[in-house]
Symmetry: C2
Amino acid sequence: MSGARNITAALRRARVPRPSLAIRTVQFITPLTARTFSASSTRTSDSRQIKFTSDAYPNLKRNPNFAEISADDVAHFKELLGSQSAVIDGVTTDATDDIEPFNSDWMRKYRGHTRLVLKPKDAQEVSKVLRYCNERKLAVVPQGGNTGLVGGSVPVFDEIVINTSRMNQIRSFDAASGVLVADAGVILETADQYLAEREHLFPLDLGAKGSCHIGGNVSTNAGGLRLLRYGSLHGSVLGLEAVLPDGTIVDALSTLRKNNTGYDLKQLFIGSEGTIGLVTAVSIQCPPRPKAVNVAYFGLESFEQVQQAYLAAKSQLSEILSAFELMDGRSQKLVIESTGNKHPLEGEYPFYCLVETSGSNAEHDMAKLESFLESVMGDGIVADGVLAQDETQFQALWRWREGITESLSHLGGTYKYDVSIPLSDLYLLVEDCKALLTEKGLVGDDDSFPVRAVVGYGHMGDSNLHLNVAVRQYSKEVEKAIEPWVYEWIQKRQGSISAEHGLGVAKREFIGYSQNETMVKLMKQLKNLYDPNGIMNPYKYI
Amino acid sequence: MSGARNITAALRRARVPRPSLAIRTVQFITPLTARTFSASSTRTSDSRQIKFTSDAYPNLKRNPNFAEISADDVAHFKELLGSQSAVIDGVTTDATDDIEPFNSDWMRKYRGHTRLVLKPKDAQEVSKVLRYCNERKLAVVPQGGNTGLVGGSVPVFDEIVINTSRMNQIRSFDAASGVLVADAGVILETADQYLAEREHLFPLDLGAKGSCHIGGNVSTNAGGLRLLRYGSLHGSVLGLEAVLPDGTIVDALSTLRKNNTGYDLKQLFIGSEGTIGLVTAVSIQCPPRPKAVNVAYFGLESFEQVQQAYLAAKSQLSEILSAFELMDGRSQKLVIESTGNKHPLEGEYPFYCLVETSGSNAEHDMAKLESFLESVMGDGIVADGVLAQDETQFQALWRWREGITESLSHLGGTYKYDVSIPLSDLYLLVEDCKALLTEKGLVGDDDSFPVRAVVGYGHMGDSNLHLNVAVRQYSKEVEKAIEPWVYEWIQKRQGSISAEHGLGVAKREFIGYSQNETMVKLMKQLKNLYDPNGIMNPYKYI
């Protein structure tokens, strides 16, 4: 990476005191925008080539209790929602091309048969729509930016898509408390840019930020890149507005940091993937935007050393550590192959890490980061590294992490496993999976092998690995080789089969590997309580 | 405060650059232990002088659906729990003195009529006890350290007390992830000391830490002194083990930071005050213990300036700010009167603030704190201040905040209101309340007036005020003057009538001031789902 400072050389040249080591701090002038994939970019007419979920999962049968959408229903919705653009009608008209993007996911893995998309503009309209659907027993799928990874936001059969894109207003922001109130359909990046102008930060960041909706983030309980620093949405979401299947508007849009007045019901909507109700607005605690942000990227010889580097970062960077990301060598080669970019380090390493600091004092942060780098390099934990020196390099280094998803998408399909595993075993899953698929003769460089690559990367700081098996095309043979093996592997280590992506269709049958029977029974009990007709996002995990 | 550095003088003497301003950083050698009150210290035989809750709230009637405890029941429990010390039997023996401490709260405000205390040793025993009670329709009250402030952990009538004190083991701690798993009955301070030895910190701290149980903290969703920095328990609690009224053991004791596999049911137990189930163990994310902690204490001329100081601290101390506490002049005078201690500042001010920083680099933290103090004093926001120079002074300064509760308790009784209010109006409540009580002729220095003092203090950083009305004795006249006036006042400002203490008996009738009808209805629906016989902590807010 031209111009990025090589840390090894720099540290070798000048040991403490090192006033000459004037590595510049990258100012946090603009928000991270190096998002490469977008749900809309895949919404092209070739979506018809995507296999129907109902074909890929033949054991899924349309629930005969659900009504079929009639022309009368469509007329009712058109009257209800007023604006013509709020209803995409594939029932009484041929709107297949307009509807397809809402039927299929950006990974080209899931595809439904809906013929109706509704875009209500507020909770009142959602309430009317849901009450009607509930009475008529019409199944629905809440959908935000449709950037999910488990098929949770697209229909399987003819469920009506209720899309949140017209609920896209920021309602309020209070600089003293840092509390933002916004509609569910506000795009994450839009919210963050709004906050950037007010010196605050959205406490969630992830690759799909250019497309995903904050309502979808909350419904998925998205984790992302900086959970390590800003915590889970269960902590930062202060309030919610949501609509239950019977049309009840749950107005729990508190903006108070502390509010102990009864059960914290809003928590049930965080991470329940739209199966209990539809989130229409969010109130969220936003931290002050850091004045200085630094990124270092380095290569390591073993996973043992990755762990050592992480513990050193946790201890030494402490309150300014905002991300600690892991990428394996294979994942970085894929990014090189797909982008043609020159890799920032000279040598090749089996592991790479990206460490980000965010703080209020550039000088202090750089001193801490230098001291950390000196210690991990002095102790032989890190083999080589670079430190971003300006905003461009900052973005460029992040792309080595964030570009993996897109690089993988160029290879065909990807079996994605988003899992939590105790730290010491985190990477072992990738090795074991690769060994398994190799043993079965499924991995190879030429087109006769279904699997192109097995890669691992993820949020080291959260013990969250993304195991990705890149295939030339989706095949039952590969899927059967991996599943349920991968879930059994995780269960043995008391991990989670879904860390931050949710269960959706992809893991609908596998919840038992991470939740015991009692928990599943209690979840079903709640589902039945709120959605006795089962109309909310059916055929998914519950 | 002898030896504590006077900031005004120091800053006046030496403007930047100030290498001579060598204010020492207090090292975080020992955990904060300046806890002054203890539930057990009030558990003396004079508890019999405390008015029965059933007399103080004559509209509360014993639910006739509940069975009376029989000698057979006691025999059953004795057989079930084995150890003699696990059952305090006031049914078949005269154990009044032994039982009274479990019947009454430390504030001497609530007192029940229980004749039976059970101390199960694990979730299995709790399960057997609850299943039996549910079948027999025997009402129960879960009780931890009994340090609550709203009468939520003591019986009203003859509910069986299920005390968690024998579930007091730390189960595991993993230094790499910072996850502690501990029984519900572990005392908060014990947990924190255990973590201190392992260079970590319990992410919750509050005045009662020497007595309160972490299970009770979670059931109350306690906020405390450092929520500002370490966030709410809804974010830091990773898992729970709890027992439902029918004996079902909810094993959701995950130690994973990310686990998106279905509904996050554990959240329902956080803050529901033991009305859904009894928490038996907690898994919690603990941050690394800060290597340096500083405390500054200063006087301010107006609440407007308090707000300015807070915003400056939030912006300038940012990631190292760990507490920003507000104390009014009256509260500090009470501490002087009750302790005889010399106040740390020379002059008298209407407002005082305590600012704490916690970080990983003493030098950096001190530089940030000095810069902050210089800016707020240079701008005339802060009138005078001191900075702790060693551990003793650190503890001494904190006692000016933490000692308020005990100082108040020496005056007789206290009507305590723990509320969230938008920051700009935070202190106005104290002024308005004092004006109201003065107008009604209730406040005065001699014994003919029921009210001694109206004081305000609290967690400025969380917009959380503690309004305390100190009375010579509890009286309906005073209570009626304050309530529901205080709740109406808060409702008008979209505040919360309970920020971090819960509702308990104290606010059982007032939930409607902070939650709308739909929310209350949904809460009752959940209560009925999990506890159809209503045996769990009855007569409280739900």
